[in-house]
Structures are given as structure tokens and as C-alpha cells.
Symmetry: C2
Subunit: 312 residues, 2 copies
């Protein structure tokens, strides 16, 4: 179905929250989930917006996404905590984990919370942005179900492993990067397929033998961005946001009992720099980029890394 | 000049060390520099090997790379230290900074040392590998002199901002990723030019108007890997390994008084996981990748991310 509809943010929030409440999600959790999804929609990342609600409802009914469940701290040392997420909502875990990471960063300059038995956390930017709102740099990453083949291979065994970073700024909004390690999200290919489109753009996909293909029927996996470099980064995310603390990767991230590994880090700007000096330098960087000439054919220099563009 | 020559590692180390000693570098520092450069050569990353010696000697004579100079800790909180590197050798600073980061990671699970007034540190993998040798995950990054234009723009103002990560493993060597955020290092283009080659491969370079070019004469900058994604990562490295703590970026990273910003982080595996569980899971990941079928035309599945391939 084509066309667009404009909705009040407050109404969309209420609706999303209502959907979750009807699944038996406690009020506080429903609010976090709704905020995360609506923020993604507002940023134009519709794949991680309220469109996720039916899927989440299904996961909750099947017991793969638990509500009113508390995580358990299974390891703690200095600026690091490891949690058993017990397959709670990824949004709820992420919100709590980043909040805890920021507490540790106040004392230690940096705080890291790693969560195994996690869940789909929507757009990673949501957690990173939580941190920047408190004057910290936030980093969030997650392993995911397999959508990519290893470089040189043909078996789909690697998630596209999103990483999000948000940096607080004063003159303009935060500088936010939120990206998967594949050329495009697999969901974009699925969407084209649903629309009956038979060809995918060149460079997006590989067939079951690991060869590039543009034929929708042959698509077996999405290609890593930048080839071996993107594959290399995806492997490191598998390790840093999974293997390191017992979080599942690839096919196991989809497993009923496992769920993805997730990691949240906060860097306390004041531990690294005089606050005014930091904001001065950052604002100057953004300003400089904005003032640079854009080349013919480009709309402008991308100074603020618009998420609409990057989160795909 | 074509051709190859095989040299004993011990002899190359002695020669490199001797070159530095002759510049008045203290023995301990000369050894660190020699080790870093020879390790890069052994890993096939010749651009960061002993070929750097004449350049370093020049920097030392001009006062842009200082010897027998101690860094100063200008900020300290929990697991974070910021150093004024006073433009010492990048290798010496990097070695000391990663050593200190590991000390903090023993107590706090994570340790970060950020260095402003840094210097060219050669291959970032050297510092990351230092950490993995102690059972930690090492991360090293640096800002650099401008070689890339911002996405959508045409002015070269961004370093290719290398990031290296090394993860300890038991069955095989460490898993190491060391990569710049450009499609290729600018040095590779310069090398082709020296050989009299008039065309650069498609996708490598942009002209002064920010448009793709294959003509050597028109080359103004190298393209970011994966387009806007690589540009986004390069911006984040500018911030995390520079702006955050007063380190210089872009053109200022080349400035006589400034030098690049550098950051070194160590993650203590034992803070995140039972050691045996971690090594078991990591070795299984590498083994799984090795056992996957490679596609026709590929030599093999890249399980261990060979640096020869990645560090370019």
C-alpha cells in the first residue's frame, strides 16, 4: 500500500505503549520500548520504529522476550559489569545497562555493561543518545542473527552487527553514527521482495555460492560494507559484543534460549577534557565541515551524519 | 628498483635500532621503535616498516619527534588517563600508554590512555598486540594528517584515522584487525605515482572537486571505504582519538606543535568472562570460520583476518 500518513508523536507514543501494555508489559518497560521505537521513526529509521511492535508481541507470547524480568549482575570489576539479561526486552535491558554504564563512568571515566541473553534492541542510537544527553559519549553494539557470509566464504553465519556512537555537542544536536556492517540491512532486501521487485541494486547481495548477484531469487546474504574491511569489523563486533562475555553470535543469537549479546559503554567527557574546551573543539569541527564546499551533485557536506542516511 | 632481498629478523632489528641510536635516541626507545617497525615488515605491512626510519630521523632532527622526553599525565580518573605526549616518538608513547592502560584494566576491567601531542605511531596493531599478549583485548587508534574529503564535500580535511584491535586466542595466533577508514592508504597511491603509473584503480581516489577519478594527475584525496559509512567512522575516530581530549585532527595533526591524537584501550578478558570459557568460544568461532567452504575463486575463508590483507 502506497501513501503517507502524518501522526502526532504523542499519539504514536501512546499507541505503542498501549500495544505493549496489552501484552502484559509493566508501565515503565512499555514506556521505554515505545520511546525507542518512536525515536527511530522520528529519525526516519522506520525499520526500527513502531513497525517492530507486532514482532515484539509475538516474541513475548512465545516467551522469547520476557517482561517484568530483572537482569542479574554476574560479574563486576571496577568499571565493568556483565549481566545475564534473561531475555528481557532489548530496549529495557539497553536502557538499564546504559544508565548503569554512565554511573560507573562518573566514578571511573568509563563504564561498560555487557549483557548476554539479550534481545532485539531496535536502533542502537537510542542508547548512545541516552548517554550524550548526560554529557557522555555513548556506544552501543549488538550481535545479530546471520545475514552475511564471511569474506571469501559462502555460508551465512555472521550478523550485520550494528554499532552506534553518539557524541554530545552544544551548537547543534549530537553527532550520531548508527550503522550495520553490511552494505544494507537484510530487511531492505525483504521489503523490495514484498513489493514484487525482482532485481536488487548491484553490490548489495551475494548468492548461496558467495558470488555477487542482482537477482532477487538468488539472494542468500547481504554483502559486508567495504568488503573485507566490513567483514573484519563485523567479526570484531561478534567478539566484543558477544564472545568476550558469553553472548551468542550468528545463528545462536536467534536461539530460543540465547538471544544476542549486547554491549553498552559510556565515556565521561569530563574525565578526558575540560568541558568547555571539548564542546568548543567539537562545535568547531562540525562548523568547519558545514562550511566546506559541497561538490557538484551532492546536496551538502555531511557534517552531522544524519541518521536517516546512515542507519540502514 | 625491482627485486627482493631476504634479511634475518635479528639483523633488521639491530640495523633499525642502530639508526635510531645514531639520532640520539636512548636505547630503550630505540628498541621499541625498531620492534614496532620490524613487526610491521614481518606482517607484510611494509608501508609501516623500516621504510619509516629516514622519515623518523628527519622528524627528530627538525624537533617534531622528540627523544628522551617523558610524557606528563594531565588528567586521571579511575580507568582513564590523559597524557601530554610532548611529541615524543609515537611508538614510545604508544608502548607506554598501552602498558599503563593494561595496569588500569587489571584493577578496573578496562583502561584507557589518551595522548595529545602525539606522533606517527606506525602500525596500530603493534600496541593492540601488546595487550593481547597479556590476555587482554587491545584497541589503538590515531588521528592523522588529511587524506580524505568529507562525504559530499571536496576539501581534503580528514585523516584516514587507523583503528587496530587484537584479541588473544589459544589455538591460533591472535585475531587482529588493523585498518584505515579509506579505501586505500594515500601512500599506496604515492607509490604507484613513483613507479610512473598514470592510472589508479577505480574507486580509490577523488579529484579536487570531490568526484571519482582514475587519473593520477587529478588525484586530490583517497575515498572513504564504504562511502558515507567509512566517512562516519573516520569522523568518530577524529572525535574519540582527538577532539575528546584535546588531540589534534586533520591538518593540525601535522602541525609542528600539535601532532596527532592517539588513544589506547585495554579490556581485561577476566573481568568479562571465565578465561577458559572465553578462549573456548573464541577458538570455536575461528575454527568454524576455517571450516566453512570458500567460494569458487576465493583462496579461503578469512578466519584470522590476515594483516597483510587488511592493513592497507
Amino acid at each position: 500500500m502506497e501513501g503517507k500518513v502524518t501522526v502526532r508523536v504523542s499519539e504514536l507514543l501512546e499507541t505503542a505503549k498501549g500495544c505493549m501494555l496489552r501484552e502484559g508489559v509493566p508501565e515503565e518497560e512499555a514506556e521505554i520500548i515505545a520511546n525507542s521505537l518512536v525515536q527511530a521513526d522520528r529519525r526516519g529509521v522506520f525499520s526500527h520504529g513502531v513497525v517492530c511492535l507486532p514482532r515484539y508481541a509475538g516474541l513475548m507470547r512465545s516467551g522469547m522476550m520476557r517482561t517484568a524480568e530483572s537482569h542479574e549482575v554476574t560479574r563486576r570489576l571496577g568499571a565493568v559489569e556483565v549481566w545475564d539479561g534473561k531475555r528481557s526486552s532489548g530496549q529495557v535491558l539497553g536502557h538499564r545497562a546504559m544508565t548503569r554504564a554512565m554511573e560507573m563512568a562518573k566514578e571511573c571515566g568509563v563504564g561498560i555493561v555487557a549483557v548476554y541473553h539479550g534481545n532485539h534492541f531496535g536502533a542502537g542510537a537510542y542508547y548512545a543518545i541516552l548517554a550524550q544527553a548526560q554529557g557522555m559519549i555513548g556506544i552501543a553494539a549488538s550481535t545479530g542473527s546471520p545475514t552475511m557470509a564471511p569474506w571469501g566464504g559462502m555460508d551465512k553465519c555472521l550478523g550485520n552487527n550494528p554499532v552506534a556512537v553518539a557524541v554530545p555537542a552544544r551548537e547543534r544536536g549530537p553527532v550520531v553514527l548508527d550503522m550495520a556492517q553490511s552494505v544494507v540491512a537484510f530487511g531492505r532486501v525483504t521489503n523490495l521482495k514484498k513489493q514484487g521487485i525482482q532485481e536488487v541494486p548491484e553490490g548489495w547481495c551475494l548468492d548461496s555460492r558467495g558470488k555477487p548477484t542482482v537477482k532477487m531469487d538468488e539472494v542468500a546474504s547481504v554483502a559486508p560494507m567495504a568488503g573485507y574491511k566490513g567483514y573484519g569489523i563485523a567479526v570484531m563486533v561478534d567478539i566484543l559484543s558477544g564472545i568476550l562475555f558469553g553472548g551468542a553470535t550468528g545463528a545462536r543469537a536467534d536461539d530460543m534460549q540465547e538471544g544476542p549479546g549486547m554491549i553498552f559503554a559510556a565515556l565521561n567527557v569530563e574525565a578526558f577534557s575540560d568541558k568547555d574546551a571539548f564542546y568548543g573543539a567539537l562545535d568547531a569541527l562540525v562548523r568547519q565541515r558545514r562550511e566546506l564546499l559541497s561538490h557538484e551533485g551532492s546536496k551538502r557536506v555531511f557534517a552531522d551524519l544524519p541518521n536517516r542516511f546512515l542507519n540502514r
